[in-house]
């Protein structure tokens, strides 16, 4: 059973890496978005492997289903101008690549050096735990989703509410930035700019 | 109002503008001089007694014998329910007739069709170009002396009339 996990991990890791390289290399912005989709789906698979099924599902919905649709929207609206080339200058490419390879090497060197603590509880221990203790445990916790929910409204209540405020601010900000300056026919009150400051009527 | 009263009103209003007229027959009409035609059109449409607000058709007719290209305007009034027709002649070589698309918007397309099929140029028309035939068609088919083209952009046009 365990070598299935390994195979799936290597497959997903390969998919994620190929996606990342694809993003780095491809010229056409729509192809970059598609490689991003590959990485997102690979990441979601990895989350399932890491036992966080709920996070994996949310990643599929919010990230792959929501954010990516937004990005594709952005690509569609801004990719119309053919006579603008986005090819970066070679000096920038060389500098960027060298910098990142150095970063990757440093990170990996550091990672191998340190010995990470391991206080993962085994399945029997989790079963014996009381409800409150079980909420803290991540792996081998059968109802991890419930615990996540309880923790959101327990210890993480403040960041949870602050998050909702941030989302509200983003909602209003994005709507304001993207408001139609040219009056839209039949738009309900409040969407069109007030009669005085309409944009140039085509 | 029947045809003679309309013609009387027109001659009384425009005098020289009305070249000739025919009250009887199956198609009572008045022939109007080209330069007087726009004011006559406005008069026909706005005069309370006439109120010809519905332009039914603009037909171009080619009379090579009298060297004339005639535009026939058939009018009807949705208020008084009486009908009348107006003819405006133009020479065949360089046919120019003032356009009334400003008075009756329906004339816009009808005049374009007359221009397309007969070659009558309507001055003051907002967008005078061919409407039925392709843009680059040579000649005007409804003229009596129309020469059938041999081919169109390489497509042969052989037919009984034009072997």
């Amino acid at each position: 059973m365990d070598n299935l996990d390994t195979i799936v991990f290597y497959f997903l890791a390969a998919l994620a890496l190929v996606g990342a390289m694809g993003i780095l290399v491809s010229r056409n912005i729509v192809r970059t978005a598609m490689w991003l989709l590959a990485t997102l789906v690979a990441a979601a698979g990895l989350y399932f492997l890491l036992g966080a099924a709920f996070v994996g599902a949310i990643q599929l919905i919010v990230y792959a289903g929501g954010t990516l649709v937004l990005i594709i929207f952005g690509v569609m609206l801004t990719a119309k101008n053919p006579n603008v080339s986005y090819t970066p200058r070679t000096a920038e490419i060389v500098l960027g690549v060298v910098l990142c390879v150095l970063l990757a090497g440093a990170l990996i060197f550091v990672l191998h050096g340190t010995a990470w603590p391991n206080n993962v509880k085994s399945v029997e221990e989790v079963k014996r735990m009381s409800q409150a203790q079980r909420d803290l445990v991540g792996p081998n916790n059968p109802d991890a989703t419930e615990s996540t929910g309880r923790r959101f409204l327990g210890d993480y209540l403040v960041p949870f509410e602050v998050l909702s405020l941030v989302l509200l601010a983003v909602l209003i900000g994005a709507a304001y930035l993207g408001r139609p300056k040219v009056p839209v026919i039949g738009a309900p009150r409040g969407v069109n700019p007030p009669p005085g400051q309409e944009g140039p009527r085509k | 109002m029947n045809a003679p009263e309309i013609i009387a009103a027109l001659t009384e209003q425009f005098g020289a503008g009305v070249v000739s007229s025919e009250a009887g027959g199956t198609h009572p009409h008045a022939v109007i001089a080209p330069e007087a035609w726009p004011p006559v059109a406005v008069y026909l449409r706005d005069e309370p007694g006439l109120k010809f607000d519905f332009l039914r058709a603009v037909s171009g007719v080619d009379y090579p014998a009298e060297n004339k290209l005639v535009s026939v305007y058939d009018l009807i009034s949705t208020v008084h329910r009486h009908t009348f027709a107006v003819k405006v002649a133009a020479p065949r070589e360089n046919p120019h007739t003032p356009s009334v698309s400003a008075v009756w918007p329906t004339a816009d397309w009808h005049e374009r069709e007359a221009f397309d099929l007969l070659g009558i140029v309507y001055d003051g028309h907002p967008e005078l170009r061919r409407i039925l035939l392709p843009e680059d068609w040579q000649g005007h088919p409804l003229r009596k002396d129309y020469a059938w083209p041999k081919d169109y952009n390489g497509i042969p046009c052989a037919s009984l009339v034009n072997p």
């Binding site: 390994t6 195979i7 991990f9 994620a16 890496l17 990342a20 993003i23 780095l24 970059t32 978005a33 990485t39 997102l40 990441a43 990895l46 989350y47 890491l50 966080a52 996070v55 949310i58 990643q59 919010v62 990230y63 954010t67 990005i71 952005g74 690509v75 609206l77 603008v84 986005y86 090819t87 970066p88 920038e92 490419i93 500098l95 910098l99 990142c100 390879v101 970063l103 990757a104 990170l107 990996i108 990672l111 603590p117 391991n118 993962v120 803290l136 445990v137 991540g138 792996p139 916790n141 991890a144 996540t148 923790r151 960041p159 998050l163 989302l167 983003v170 994005a174 930035l177 993207g178 | -």
Partner: protein, 103 residues
């Protein structure tokens, strides 16, 4: 095949992170940079969850990962609104044209 341990995930995350950073540095298209940023966030998420499974054994990693996902969506929304305004001003989302902006 050795069983999958913490190291494998960390290495993967590190490579993803540097690839994301490299994209942000190299790309001239604003949306390319945005995609690079998404890559960074994903790498961070993988790290979070890997630590929560192999090392810490607690649920905090998953919760933080959820926060990161939600905030990434918000960030993309604002970034795209800005890019669209940028586009309507410069007819392209080429970041190098940004130097003509006032202030």
């Amino acid at each position: 095949m050795t069983p999958v341990g913490l190291q494998h995930y960390l290495v993967l995350a590190a490579v993803l992170f540097s690839a994301g950073l490299c994209t942000m540095v190299v790309k001239r298209n604003a949306i390319g940079i945005l995609i690079g940023a998404e890559l960074l966030l994903n790498a961070a998420n993988i790290n979070l969850l890997a630590f929560s499974k192999y090392s810490a054994g607690t649920l905090d990693g998953a919760i933080l990962a959820l926060f990161v996902i939600v905030l990434a969506a918000a960030e993309v929304a604002i970034a795209l609104a800005i890019f669209l305004n940028f586009y309507s001003r410069f007819a392209s989302v080429d970041v190098d044209r940004g130097d003509q902006m006032r202030g």
